[in-house]
């Protein structure tokens, strides 16, 4: 069976106030659903690997094939919950180890 390739995205969440991981994921899923529908969302294979609420940094895992789609959806987020927000992709990597290395540089 062919191995599924994944990509890890380091995200910076920008908003006034705090947000929990559930609200963040709801916003991400909402953005993907709005732009690409249920079929598109089903291809994304999204998973929140870690989220640091204090630093507002997150690591998101997605399928390699749809990484551009996920980037677009993340860029389209303007609200998380009822707060104005933006989600920026800091870097993308094939492994969590490489992602951490890139972030430290």
């Amino acid at each position: 069976m062919k191995r599924i390739k994944r990509r890890y995205l380091a995200l910076e969440v920008e908003l006034d106030g705090a947000v929990d991981s559930k609200e963040l994921m709801n916003a991400i899923w909402g953005a993907i659903l709005k732009l690409y529908g249920e079929y598109g969302a089903s291809l994304a294979g999204l998973s929140l690997i870690e989220y640091d609420a204090a630093e507002k940094l997150a690591v998101l895992r997605t399928s390699h094939a749809v990484v551009n789609m996920v980037r677009t959806a993340l860029a389209s987020i303007t609200k998380i919950g009822d707060k104005s927000a933006a989600v920026h992709v800091l870097t993308v990597s094939g492994t969590i180890k490489a992602l951490r290395k890139k972030l430290k540089l």
């Binding site: 920008e14 908003l15 709005k34 732009l35 551009n68 789609m69 980037r71 677009t72 993340l74 860029a75 389209s76 303007t78 104005s84 927000a85 933006a86 920026h88 992709v89």
Partner: protein, 244 residues
């Protein structure tokens, strides 16, 4: 070599220096090196220089820009004659077909902008693109509306942009992707703007060019023209004096 990213359309209140400083700091953090701010036509050189120094503190190169909204082509010609040597970028918001056609064929116009809300007033068709391809005008796409609009309005905008960018590419009219935002929360990284452009069918390479090489080319060309050493395209003064 690192790519230089540019956003030629930030609509901030340039009299609020604190806000300008904050926005420029953020633009620098997001990876931009060249920012265009829209000034009113009657703004003074001192005001522009003041903003330029604020931008320099944030390591941002400021590009002065004016947006014209003429009702008739004669008005556009008059404004261009008056303002072309004052601003580095001239954008024209094409509210009528007459103005759109004049703007597309006039070599003093840099950017063509069309109404977001009234789709009958988006005049970027094949005739417009042909005129623009023979002059120096580029098609500007403000991404702000892709972020703020929802539902049917966004669907219609995407559909119009898909058609217009396809025409622009067919006629080799450069496409410029700008943010068009006035609030810092709506600012996006250049790569994020390029990713959003995939929604209307631009591939990654073209979209990245639209936030880097294409705007830089316009600025470089206009700065050369505005320089006191410029004589004509390809001719510039290299030395002055009695021994020349």
């Amino acid at each position: 070599m690192r790519r230089t990213y540019a956003d030629l359309h930030l609509c901030t209140n340039f009299k609020d220096y604190q806000k300008v400083s904050r926005i420029m700091g953020k633009a620098s953090k997001l990876g931009y090196r060249l920012i265009g701010i829209t000034f009113p036509p009657n703004s003074s050189n001192e005001e522009i220089q003041k903003i330029r120094s604020i931008c320099a503190e944030a390591k941002i190169d400021l590009v002065s820009r004016v947006d014209l909204k003429p009702r008739k082509s004669k008005e556009l010609i008059y404004d261009l004659r008056r303002l072309r040597r004052k601003f580095e970028i001239i954008g024209v918001s094409c509210e009528s077909k007459d103005v759109a056609r004049q703007a597309a064929k006039d070599r003093r116009v840099d950017l063509l902008n069309f109404s977001t809300f009234d789709f009958r007033r988006r005049f970027f068709d094949r005739a417009e693109a042909e005129l623009a391809s023979n002059s120096l005008a580029s098609l500007e796409v403000d991404m702000k509306f892709l972020l703020t609009l929802e539902g049917v309005a966004r669907i219609r905008l995407l559909s119009a942009l898909r058609r217009e960018t396809a025409i622009a590419r067919e006629f080799h009219v450069p496409i410029i992707i700008s943010s068009g935002v006035s609030e810092d929360m709506l600012m996006r990284r250049p790569r994020e703007l390029a990713a959003l452009a995939s929604l209307f069918g631009l591939d990654e390479v073209v979209a990245v060019e639209a936030v880097s090489a294409n705007p830089l080319k316009i600025v470089k060309r206009n700065r050369e023209k505005l320089s006191p050493k410029f004589v004509a395209p390809g001719i510039r003064v290299i030395r002055e004096g009695k021994d020349c």
